[in-house]
Point group: C2
């Protein structure tokens, strides 16, 4: 989750840096300038043609097994164009140029804009309606007309707003191009407009936060030997809640003091200082904003005078500071364990990649699975048209939104409920680390997003790889033979670091036809100051609380099981007391199955049953297997499926109704493509997409149904979360598995199995089902190369200016929230 409100006024003071320091200009809310001094020197617009060429082309890394005969991923041609693909450079450049030519939009270049200018927030591909998409991918229809989804930041008005518009058709032709408000995917009918609570964030620090901080500079110096004044030698930082309070027509913010890290490590969220202040920032005129009070050590002071008076009284209790140190740094520390310095086991690919890729269309074929990879600003990577043996299982599978809902006795923690698509998963899907995030032999793809008249490309930000698990997929032993099958699976992965937290998203495919969706969390926790808040977390360091929070991540799984006439069948194991013809009149305590179908969306919101008693099956009632059973896929929790603890959250209003249940089922509609809007936080009572409004009694039986699944973790950080949360246990996932979909287990078709017959102490047969032939056909001996030597190729993002369009002068620049 990101950290809202940490924009530094230094970006204004040092306007000469504006062009080179893109980090201030990313999206609606300018991302805070990096707080660590040596980070501030980054993101230069240097041109390094050689490095860039290698990076932009997305070449496979040197660590891949070049000595092997089949190391290069097979190139294939996608059967259809990837209609969920990203815009190409000239398309984006055409749109931005055309937009600036529309005088009625009154747009200003982002770099030149003040808080009273309109800017282009986002340009990306508009994903087609499913109706149109399916007509194309399944039939003979032409590809859906391509449009750009554009977000304008309209600030030249007393009531600033974001405007979602469609621009097209693409590529732009001045004779045919037009724009229209994007309205149909939203439950709120407001012409595609969402109010912007951050329009004056540029003034917030200079005109409001730093003056308030200055008013108690003597206190901050006394308490922490530091100040937050917007000066280069500040050692304190100030930022606050997200979403802002939106009660009674007022816009209220609470801000908190934090120590700045003293090294390169991103430890600020571990350094809260326990002093908070409240501001009413309603309206666009800072002179009308109101200071509302201080909070310290569980006491609320209505005025600065009250606070000062108390502070300098003899009975005021001064609390200590959380100070940066090795405890907050992720580098190695402590004694090295026996043998740890030797290289650990590592996976190698002796025959190179065994999957096929259309790199341009981001179309993947592994064994009997095929799918397209999509990428957008809000939600990052998604998969489309996932097919197994030629039949579509899922039209769409992807993240919708991620919530991190905190709680606490202080207004900062209590008021924080990050909705991370506001920051976006796309902009922070950073370059992956080979050998760590993915095996060294993985294949990598790039991904791009638009910001401030440039397109940023994350190099190697999606990885594709096969892996053989440490356990078999199948086995059986008798006194005469043993049979076993390898569990080799395929993973598509991206990692988004939205501020302090790193989410590793994995979609895995298995040879039995099953699919897993997993998220793991690492990075820095957002902690709380430990004072009077034992009921909201453990004390994890000197003055530090591991602030309790719920992660809830919503995924859309738009199943198409043998077409779109699908139903949700529930099948439960239930205790039963039964008498049978053979039980001689005696009742027996046993169990039985109970089956039912969801009929309408009114039944469509529910949780995993206690004791895992109920199977959730997505089936096509009209498609039966040879035994007469309905063919389908089962959705089953893998680990950590969870919904939000908080009921009717004051912070969230209607902005995250999707978080209320584990499983939610709706009828698929082109007007309900996504569970949340990136700007739901801007109007929580009446957000652009209120997921609860999807549930209006429509039939979900023999319909095109969508299953919205929540993964999550109830996280009460303990000392093991210092310095970073570890992914051993911070893990949530669901699996989809065939249920009577085929006549037999599909993993029987792999050659990666063995049967050994044995007798009298000797193997009499070792059947390897053709594996031996593969060796003759070109399998190769991998040379193990420790991956570290190649990590010098890590580059960060590449930026290409779109207006003026300057495709031949890419430069490097990577922006993070903190």
């Amino acid at each position: 989750m990101g950290l809202l409100g940490s924009i530094s006024p230094k970006s204004l003071l040092a306007s000469a840096l504006l062009l080179t320091s893109l980090s201030q200009d990313v999206f609606a809310r300018p991302s805070p300038e990096p707080k660590v001094p040596w980070v501030r020197k980054g993101s230069g617009r240097k041109k390094m043609a050689h490095n860039l060429k290698r990076a932009v082309e997305g070449e496979r890394r040197a660590t891949e097994l070049e000595t092997c005969a089949q190391t290069v991923t097979t190139t294939i041609t996608a059967p259809k164009a990837n209609i969920w693909g990203e815009l190409i450079d000239v398309e984006t450049a055409g749109v931005v140029s055309w937009l600036f030519a529309q005088k009625d939009l009154n747009l200003t270049l982002t770099d030149d804009a003040t808080n009273w200018d309109n800017t282009i927030q986002l340009i990306e591909a508009m994903w087609p309606n499913k109706t149109d998409a399916v007509a194309y991918i399944d039939g003979n229809a032409t590809a859906p007309t391509k449009y750009a989804h554009v977000v304008l930041n309209i600030r030249a008005t007393e009531s600033p707003y974001y405007a979602d518009i469609l621009v097209g058709p693409l590529p732009i032709d001045n004779k045919t191009a037009s724009w229209e408000p994007l309205t149909y995917p939203y439950t709120k009918q407001s012409g595609g407009q969402v109010r912007n609570l951050d329009a004056d964030s540029d003034l917030l620090y200079s005109d409001w936060i730093y003056p308030i901080s200055a008013s108690i500079a003597d206190i901050t110096l006394d308490l922490w030997n530091g100040t937050a004044l917007g000066l280069d030698n500040d050692t304190l930082d100030i930022w606050g809640i997200d979403p802002l309070w939106q009660d009674d027509g007022r816009i209220i913010r609470w801000d908190s003091f934090w120590n700045l890290p003293t090294t390169e490590f991103d430890s600020e969220t571990l350094l809260p200082l326990g002093l908070y202040f409240m501001s009413d920032i309603t309206g666009r005129d800072p002179s009308q904003w109101k200071f509302e009070g201080w909070f310290y050590n569980n006491v609320f002071y209505e005025t600065t005078e009250d606070f000062r008076s108390a502070y300098f009284s003899s009975c005021f209790k001064k609390l200590g500071a959380n100070v940066d140190g090795a405890w907050a740094h992720s580098d190695r520390q402590g004694p090295v364990s026996p043998n740890d310095a030797a290289y650990p086991p590592e996976s190698v690919a002796p025959a190179g990649s065994r999957f096929a890729l259309d790199r341009k269309e981001k179309y993947v074929q592994w064994m009997d699975f095929t799918f397209y990879i999509a990428f957008n600003r809000d939600t990052g990577m998604a998969l489309y048209d996932i097919r197994y043996k030629g039949e579509r299982l899922l039209y769409e599978l992807g993240l919708q939104e991620a919530l991190a809902h905190y709680a606490g006795n202080d207004p900062m923690q209590s008021g924080t409920s990050y909705l991370d698509t506001f920051y976006g998963f796309g902009p922070y899907a950073f370059e992956l680390v080979p050998g760590y995030d993915c095996p060294a032999y993985a294949t990598y793809l790039n991904s791009s997003f638009y910001v401030a008249e440039t397109t940023h490309t994350h190099i190697n930000s999606v990885c594709l790889f096969e892996f053989t698990g440490d356990f078999a997929m199948q086995r059986h032993t008798t006194s005469a033979y043993t049979s076993a099958t390898k569990n080799t699976y395929f993973v598509v992965r991206s990692v988004s670091t939205v501020g302090n937290y790193d989410y590793t998203f994995s979609y895995s495919f298995f040879v039995d036809g099953s699919i897993a969706v997993e998220v793991r969390a690492s990075g820095y926790i957002q902690s709380a100051y430990f004072a009077n808040n034992e009921d909201y977390g453990f004390k994890i360091n000197d003055f530090l609380s591991g602030s309790m929070h719920d992660h809830v991540l919503n995924f859309k799984a738009d199943f198409d099981i043998l077409g779109t006439s699908n139903s949700i069948q529930l099948m439960s194991n239930v205790p039963a007391v039964k008498t049978y013809p053979w039980s001689k009149g005696k009742a027996r305590s046993t169990m039985a199955l109970e089956r039912s179908f969801l009929e309408t969306e009114d039944q469509g919101r529910f949780n995993w049953a206690p004791n895992s008693a109920t199977q959730v099956l997505v089936v096509n009632e009209d498609e039966k297997n040879k035994n007469g059973e309905i063919r389908g896929y089962r959705v089953l929790p893998y680990t950590g499926a969870a919904h939000l603890t908080v009921l009717n959250s004051t912070n969230l209003g209607n902005a995250a109704r999707w978080a209320e249940y584990d499983i939610q089922v709706t009828k698929q509609k082109d007007t309900e493509p996504r569970a949340a809007h990136a700007f739901n936080s801007q109007d929580v009572a009446d957000p652009p997409i209120n997921f609860a409004d999807f549930f209006n009694g429509e039939s979900v039986r023999k319909e095109d149904v969508v299953v919205w699944l929540n993964l999550g973790m109830h996280h009460v950080p303990h000392t093991g979360d210092l310095p970073n949360t570890v992914m051993t246990t911070a893990h949530a996932g669901v699996q989809f598995m065939p249920s009577n979909y085929f006549d037999i287990d599909q993993s029987r078709s792999t050659v990666n199995m063995v049967r050994i017959n044995y007798k009298e102490g000797k193997a009499t047969a070792v059947e390897t089902f053709g594996q031996d032939e593969a060796k003759a056909a070109g399998a190769c001996t991998p040379v193990y190369t420790p991956v570290e030597a190649n990590l010098w190729g890590y580059t960060g993002d590449i930026v290409v200016r779109k207006f003026p369009f300057d495709p031949n002068n890419p430069y490097f620049g990577t922006d993070s929230i903190v």
Copy 2:
């Protein structure tokens, strides 16, 4: 779960085979003779000195990376003897010899025994009481006196019984040796005796089942073109329920007809035929047994005459047969997927093994973990004295019992509730398949069990290996640096194939100090005949129901968190409506933590909370970390934690009360070492160990507590379970993770991490924390060798005769239940 009742009288008819066909003589209930013809030829007593030498010594396999400098597992010396180790050959031989010398026991050699002779069922090491064990391993006490746990099968009586006795001290000295009934570990005070319902199983087929089958041979020929008469050309088999009905003082069995497989594959449990009969076999005189009726197609016939009459009437509906075929065979079938014939990725160990082993004491050190491996007949592998950084976390961690509770409209399925330790996990912990069950580079240990005056040794039946997961343990990226840590973990694994099902048990250890306990299930399902039983399973083939069943597996986790004064703390995330000093009188919908401790065993039986809301923490209240928080470990569900659906099962009575909840907590007592007894099935109303009796109100606060955890699967087999269940989703596990146990995440100490600093498109630092030095110090280049070539070394079990003791003439012989 095993298949009860399939003993063939051919073993009696062909007495010449008795010595060479050990499979009939394993344990209480003689294991059924293998049903597949070519299996019957196995198990010869051939002496193959060369093969045996290699196998007995447990040499590392040729697939290990012999070319590398550090490939051999480091040899260490355990700090103490493994007091949970197996008996050595001479100890066992001494015990058996001494027992035969005790004339009052009136023992007969198993091979010579009739059903009216007493035999030695089992000789194995008696695990010491924890009180004595801890005095030795933690203090200066001498090792606990060694005793043998012996089970006698006392059949020379009208009321046959099993007798648990202790024999010792060991090694046997005729001057000091004595025996006494083993009574203290059982809740039933019956002198260590449990009635034996199987004493006359030798007669069951010859005198009872085959004559009944013969009485309708015309019908079986008409229906299935086969007979079950105990002849070599039988194509049908008959076996029945487990446990037997034990109502009203009567012993009732139901038996079912099955087709025999037509090939080598172990597919019989997929071939039910839908005809069942009931017998009252109370007492030891078959002439007094009563035939009670037939059941077919939901109709009960009280007599054979009734059944014959109905069968030959015009309106009788004859149902089809389940017939063996490719659908039931685990070999490869179907089209080969693209690229599947190329070698898939595989894990290699470039620096060889990084752990240390005392092979004799089965003592393991990996990174900062140490533990001892134990093995016994009932429950297979267990771990003792698990320590991390020198402090014990768990005194004992191991399987207690596994239940497979079926249900159905027919008496066979409805009456089946296998309690698998009756068959034993030890005898069926078969040789593992390198490259499939465990990575090719794993280190393997042997394990042994006693049967019929011999000791059988499973070669390579426990594997130890490190593995690096496909995802990182930790990561974080900013615009200036990225940091990531490898997730390299250590696994101890064994696989037990108890009849049709293969259980893969894995204990995994992670560098953050966490531990995972996992079980995966594969092998053949036990299916039902599909007729009138839609409410008990899917139809999965022609006349086949994937009979619903619950797997519940109980594990004992005897935590010792910084000593034995431990408590169970529950901490829940709960919704809360709160008003705060700063909330201006407004109530806020938020959440908070609620904490409590279990006080007594009365609160000790509970389930995982809905929405994963409650953490279960094992803590030492008197041991606080530097922040004042209680140090402990959290027990958290990984996937598939489940308890039994059936309430007060008619089949089980009091035999499996341990299956009723997810989590159960007791005060540790030397008299309650195990949750179940292997013979609980012999007296379900009043079993030797009734787990419910453990709960008698004792304090579990600041006490030595034991956590009994259930893993399980509600299994409703579908077509994807044909021919074998796959482990992609048939998986259950729990994790133990440090909770405020240390001051910081312990994975920070590994060198297997990297930090990359980057700026302007170039990495400016790649910090590898000493990994580079390891390379110079001898890491080696692994040569990838496809494992299949070495699978010719698969041998099966080795048998050593103990009476007369014949240690120099080992021979090969492997027994399985089917």
